[in-house]
């Protein structure tokens, strides 16, 4: 019986290609995830993913359907799902915006000023109308299995632009709907998984920003070195030495290699993170632009943080919307609340990125896990609808002012240029310069991809 004694053994047993490179990079703990060449020239270098959890109502926001308005109150005949339910027109008016005449809700007045920037995809569809599964599929391509998140794939494919920061950051991710799995690396090297910042940590930061924090502290827990830096470096070398000794004794252990890498990364993060997270260096006009310091401003702060992180070289940044969009009832009221809470910060993010010349290579994505039915539920709400819904993207090489694809006449089912989650993922990877069929990782004998065996790149949305 042969025991594995060298890393070489395990490396040679893995398939060559990107998978090997990732593993080799992981083994080179000091270099972490060095930037790597994409498969072809990228249009976008990074992604800011605004997750609108709960399933925002596309027929009220971005999918303008005159027929639905006309047939408001009529019985929907959309198969067994809608049995007897009544069609329900948009609860707030639509209007056209920008030179492109982009149709969208009037609930997003500030975002509407960027109408010519938005590439609205009206023909999204996903496999299941359940939150947890659809949320998982939106992130990982799979609603069934623990698979790497799109952020992890991005990092795996491109490496990081700044080795002193995590390459994939998720701010205050929702704990439900699969929780950490949605930002996980699954079988990809552990270093690709999303680093979560938030939960109980950010409020302290906000307090610091508002200068209301009576006990000034670090912007993030455990970020300040507890001992002098030289001593900590020596400590780290000792830890590393012990870990390497353990591997020499017992053979290859990816978990321990991951541990070594994460200590090195942590060490470097100590110097970078506090700067990135400290919004106090931002001038007043920027704070005002995002709406920071005005009422509930957590989301505004996150949007500004996202820009700062993008600037600092974080590859994939995810933010969850402040509320959920699961509007089974009181749609009229709750939709305005949610839009009001997200309008200014998102618009500000686009303005700010553009002003800095970053919008052209930063892909901003606004998406929920599915949409909602064109027929009513509980009087003034809508049920989940996975057969057709809308998202938008901006910057990063997509064509602005575009409505891509279409649902049927009432907004129920994607019909023209339907874009499945796999297609959407393939398209995002393509924008990042990655061929989704080549971005593979060999796990348990099979080359896995984000897009499984599917996915068509929607070249029609490229600028």
């Amino acid at each position: 019986m042969k025991m594995i004694h060298s890393r070489r053994d395990i490396l040679t047993s893995m398939s060559s290609g990107v998978g090997w490179l990732a593993f080799a990079a992981l083994a080179q703990a000091r270099s972490g995830l060095a930037a790597r060449e994409p498969h072809f020239a990228p249009r976008a270098k990074r992604v800011i993913f605004l997750t609108m959890r709960g399933g925002p109502s596309h027929v009220d926001l971005f999918d303008y359907k005159p027929e639905l308005i006309a047939r408001n109150g009529k019985t929907a005949s959309l198969g067994r799902d809608s049995s007897g339910a009544k069609l329900f027109g948009p609860v707030h008016p639509f209007a056209q915006f920008g030179e492109s005449g982009q149709w969208m809700t009037t609930l997003y007045p500030k975002l509407a000023k960027h109408a010519d920037e938005l590439c609205i995809i009206n023909s999204m569809h996903t496999d299941l109308p359940n939150h947890a599964q659809a949320f998982g599929q939106m992130h990982t391509g799979s609603f069934q299995f623990a698979r790497p998140s799109i952020g992890a794939w991005t990092l795996y494919g491109l490496g990081t632009e700044n080795e002193n920061l995590p390459g994939f950051i998720t701010l205050n991710p929702p704990a439900d709907n699969g929780g950490a799995q949605n930002n996980g690396s699954a079988f990809l090297p552990a270093i690709c998984q999303g680093t979560r910042i938030g939960g109980s940590q950010l409020p302290e930061l906000y307090a610091a920003l508002l200068k209301k924090d009576v006990a000034p502290g670090p912007p993030m827990k455990n970020i300040v070195s507890a001992v002098p830096r030289e001593l900590q470096r020596a400590q780290l070398d000792l830890i590393r030495g012990l870990n390497e000794r353990k591997m020499e004794r017992e053979g290859v252990q990816p978990e321990i290699e991951g541990a070594i890498a994460s200590f090195e990364l942590a060490f470097r993060m100590q110097s970078e993170i506090p700067d990135v997270l400290d919004l106090r260096s931002e001038p007043d006009h920027i704070l005002k632009l995002y709406g920071i310091g005005q009422g509930k401003d957590q989301f505004a702060r996150q949007c500004l943080l996202a820009r700062r992180m993008a600037e600092a070289g974080v590859r994939f940044i995810e933010i969850a919307s402040p509320g959920h969009w699961d509007h089974h009832n009181r749609l009229r009221e709750l939709l305005s609340t949610n839009c009001a809470a997200t309008d200014q910060p998102i618009a500000a993010l686009l303005t700010d990125l553009k002003a800095r010349g970053m919008l052209k290579d930063t892909l901003v994505v606004w998406a929920g896990e599915f949409g909602r039915t064109p027929y009513a539920q509980s009087g003034d709400g809508r049920d989940h609808n996975h057969k057709g819904y809308s998202i938008w993207m901006a910057g990063g090489g997509v064509k602005g002012g575009l409505r891509y694809g279409a649902t049927d006449e009432v907004g129920y089912k994607a019909e023209l240029n339907p874009m499945h989650i796999h297609d959407w993922h393939a398209t995002i990877l393509h924008l990042l310069g990655l061929d989704h069929t080549k971005l593979t990782f060999n796990y348990g004998g099979r080359n896995f991809r984000l897009t499984n065996v599917n996915g068509e790149v929607a070249k029609g949305i490229f600028a």
């Binding site: 042969k2 025991m3 594995i4 053994d9 395990i10 047993s13 359940n130 069934q144 995590p166 704990a175 439900d176 950490a180 799995q181 996980g184 552990a190 998984q193 979560r196 939960g199 109980s200 409020p203 827990k221 455990n222 970020i223 300040v224 507890a226 030289e230 001593l231 020596a234 400590q235 780290l236 070398d237 000792l238 830890i239 030495g241 012990l242 000794r245 353990k246 017992e250 053979g251 252990q253 978990e255 321990i256 991951g258 541990a259 070594i260 994460s262 200590f263 942590a266 060490f267 993060m269 100590q270 539920q377 509980s378 593979t440 796990y443 348990g444 004998g445 099979r446 991809r449 065996v453």
Partner: protein, 797 residues
């Protein structure tokens, strides 16, 4: 005549099936399928990877997720052929093995081109996805009763290894094994003396492995470790979470109940019954009555939509959460998905769901939170019988304060009455009072919110103001009734009432009382020997905690969308043994940890890596990252600061007020929730406000039934270990503990890793201590902290 030529000839002659076809299939095709494919694609193996089954004519033609495997006459469209030809790099079959011989591939090509004659008509068994139908559902492995098969753990494991050409690993090194056992059973590392007692036959208290197993199972520390596993499943928390995160100051009683029950090895069937229907069981005295009431806390601890305005909606959501928790925890089933429609992938109908909803809706849930700005649903609490030695965490009030509160309450009630009469009068007189609307509303809200707090305070004390013993839990409601089925789950669409009962796919019947909620019958139904899931699910949970992965890896999902067992016979064996032993969890654990399989070395093997990278076959033990609580407890243990006594009550019980969102401003709360010296199971578990160490090291999300925690490895963990105040403190304590020892480095290694350092490690340590600057004690603490940060400290080999 050459068979291939014959086939070609037949092909040119036209499509007619002959005896030759069948022979060709039997001699050239079936053996290859059976040998190379059935393992992952047949009803016999229970696997249909990629949704593909190759063992019947129907399924091979229907194909899997990516399309038909075989299209008669069309070689190009037959994915099976391209898979064995390796023409698509993403679909190369058989996986991880060299390509099949050319002749075999040609055989398949011929066979397909000639019409793919396939005699396996009669073999149709289980379709890829069963329709939601009871009869078909009962054919599924997990809905069938466990089958008694002779054997023992090692034999089941070794047989399967052998079938795959693998062998088990040798025994683990004694120290590695002992550490594994200690971490697994009590969640603490052995002390140097305990190691010596195991290793040296000359040691005064020398013990065999089995004696140590016995001792650990009897240790009170066992319940603190295995009780935590159940608390994960029970989604235990001391606050509500969600949008109204109010504290549950009495939840700790349930925590202690679980620890005690696990230590007492309360038979698992009884344990389940107590938690679902303790209030309906007879009790021999007040102590037992109190215990049984506390047990029902399981049903009251869930996250609720407290700010829901509609009482009916709130009741429906609470019942749904209870049903979901019980079904996932006990049966690893997602019955609750059938709330709005028949289950899409499992044999559960909406009738099944509403039959059970009737049980929970006939139940009153008592969870404590009173009405205030965040809560519209007063929860009340259960008053426990007074028992000697009982801990009461509430605060007493001076008697005059009680009187004051009652007066205030009476005043508010009078005020409300007056306002209501005023409105009624205005209405009767047709007088428009809309101008006063704001004033009226403000008054109404003030009354509502002030009254909530007063009622909450009064409920917690007796007439003299003495705090009374309270707990969360359930009782039968006044109104015992069946629930209607609600179309699409909408309360506005009630359909016919569904008699209370249980999912029909489980072939166990139990009549439900007309005068009780039916929770007792639910518990009896779940714990019936005839129930196919309860014992299996628990045995699998135990297995997962001892090996790092379940026999069914989706430990909380035994349905169609879950994984199939790697060793179905073994799982059945364990389930039956478990029930035969009187549902003794300790006996089950003992049987497993005494097996050779458990005691194997964890060294990764090159010969296994290719074939079984996930170690599903258990050719060796798994190396496992320790759970958050174990990492923290181990630090307290090695630094000598662990307070092994039970923490009385909970920090949460000592907070005033009920809102967690205001906790940031609560000066009573330590900024670092980790700071106590008690074992981690006693740390406060407030939803969305967890102690740092738990959060960083993947504690179970207390909103969800969790039988299988995540294991992540991220820089935030490293930051916690390097800079967290708790770790600093333990490192300093450890440094103090070793500073005057003759060989500090050796002692530190013995304490942390139960072994001496080797030459290289000694030199690393000496170099660190010699070359780094700083004062002596700080340097030693930094050294100790490095040991706590090392991978070895938080992994069990």
């Amino acid at each position: 005549m050459n068979k291939q030529l014959l086939i070609l000839l037949l092909l040119t002659l036209g499509d007619f099936a002959t005896a030759e076809d069948a022979t060709f299939f039997e001699s050239k095709i079936r053996p290859v399928l059976a040998k190379h494919c059935y393992e992952c694609h047949s009803s016999e193996s229970g696997k249909s990877k990629g949704g593909l089954m190759l063992d019947t004519k129907q399924t091979i033609r229907a194909g899997g997720d990516t399309g038909p495997a075989v299209v008669p006459g069309d070689a190009a469209k037959s994915l099976l052929l391209s898979a064995i030809k390796h023409s698509d790099p993403d679909l190369e079959m058989p996986p991880k093995k060299p390509q099949l011989p050319k002749t075999v591939i040609t055989d398949f090509e011929m066979w397909i081109k000639s019409g793919a004659a396939d005699p396996r008509e009669s073999a149709v068994k289980v379709a890829k996805r069963l329709p939601v139908n009871v009869a078909a559902g009962r054919q599924f492995w997990s809905y069938q009763k466990p089958k008694q098969i002779a054997g023992e753990i090692d034999a089941f494991i070794e047989t399967k290894l052998k079938q795959n050409g693998l062998t088990p690993s040798p025994k683990a090194e004694p120290v590695a094994l002992l550490r594994r056992l200690y971490f697994d059973l009590i969640g603490l590392p052995p002390t140097p003396d305990e190691v010596a007692a195991f290793l040296n036959s000359s040691h005064a208290s020398n013990k065999t492995y089995e004696e140590i197993v016995e001792e650990l199972l009897k240790s009170p520390r066992f319940g603190e470790r295995w009780g935590r596993h159940w608390l994960d499943v029970a989604r235990f928390a001391e606050s509500n979470g969600r949008e109204s995160n109010l504290t549950f100051p009495h939840a700790w009683r349930y925590r202690d109940y679980v620890i005690d029950a696990v230590n007492a090895d309360v038979p698992f069937n009884r344990f389940i019954t107590e938690q679902i229907a303790g209030d309906l069981l007879p009790a021999k005295d007040d102590t037992e009555r109190a215990r049984l009431l506390i047990a029902t806390g399981l049903l009251a601890l869930g996250p609720k939509g407290l700010n829901e305005m509609s009482k009916a909606q709130f009741a429906a959501d609470v019942a749904d959460e209870q049903l979901d928790t019980v079904m996932r925890a006990v049966m690893a089933s997602s019955v609750a998905c059938a709330r709005c429609h028949d289950h899409k992938t499992e044999p559960f109908s909406q009738e099944d769901y509403y039959a059970m909803v009737g049980i929970f809706k006939s139940t009153q849930t008592l969870y404590g939170n009173w009405i205030d700005s965040e809560n519209n649903n007063h929860g009340h609490l259960i008053h426990l019988p007074k028992v000697n030695g009982q801990m009461i965490s509430g605060k007493s009030l001076p008697a005059n304060r009680v009187k004051q509160l009652r007066d205030d309450l009476a005043k508010l009630n009078a005020e409300e009455k007056a306002q209501n009469e005023y409105i009624a009068k205005a209405k009767a007189e047709g007088r428009d009072i809309s101008a006063e609307f704001n004033k009226i509303l403000t008054t109404a809200i003030r009354i509502l919110w002030s009254r909530g707090g007063i009622e909450g305070a009064l409920e917690a004390v007796d007439d003299q103001g003495h705090a009374v013993p309270l707990c969360m839990g359930v009782q039968d409601a006044q109104n015992i009734a069946d629930s209607p089925l609600y179309e699409r789950g909408e309360l506005s669409h009630p359909a016919q009432a569904v008699p209370r009962g249980f999912p029909r796919v489980i072939d166990v019947s139990r009549e439900i009382s007309k005068t009780q909620s039916g929770r007792l019958e639910l518990a009896q139904w779940l714990t019936s020997r005839e129930h196919p899931l309860t014992a299996r699910v628990m045995a699998n949970r135990v297995w997962r905690h001892l090996f790092g992965a379940g026999i069914v890896r989706t430990v909380d999902n035994f349905g169609f969308s879950g994984e199939r067992p790697s060793h179905p016979e073994l799982l059945d064996h364990l389930a039956i043994r478990f029930m035969d032993s009187g549902w003794s969890v300790k006996a089950l654990i003992k049987e497993i940890v005494m097996s050779k399989t458990y005691r194997q070395a964890s060294t990764r093997r090159a010969d296994v890596f290719d074939q079984d990278p996930d170690n599903r076959l258990l050719s060796h033990a798994n190396k496992r990252r320790l759970d958050a609580e174990v990492i923290r407890d181990a630090m307290l243990g090695v630094s000598g600061t662990l307070d092994i006594t039970r923490r009385a009550g909970s920090l949460v019980a000592e907070l005033d007020g009920q809102s967690v969102s205001l906790i940031g401003f609560n000066t009573k709360l330590p900024s670092d929730l980790d700071s106590s010296k008690h074992r981690s199971i006693y740390l406060p578990v407030m939803r969305d406000h967890l102690p740092d160490v738990l959060e960083q090291f993947d504690v179970a999300n207390p909103n969800l039934v969790t039988g299988d925690r995540d294991v992540t490895n991220v820089p935030l963990q490293a930051l916690y270990l390097m800079n967290g105040p708790f770790v600093q403190e333990q490192a300093a304590a450890l440094a103090k503990r070793i500073q005057s020892a003759p060989n500090r480095i050796q002692l530190a290694f013995e304490l942390c890793f139960n072994r001496l350092p080797d030459a290289q490690e000694t030199s690393l340590a000496e170099t660190f201590l010699r070359n780094s600057s700083g004062d002596e004690s700080k340097l030693l603490a930094a050294f100790c902290q490095s040991l706590l940060c090392s991978a070895e400290f938080r992994f069990a080999d």
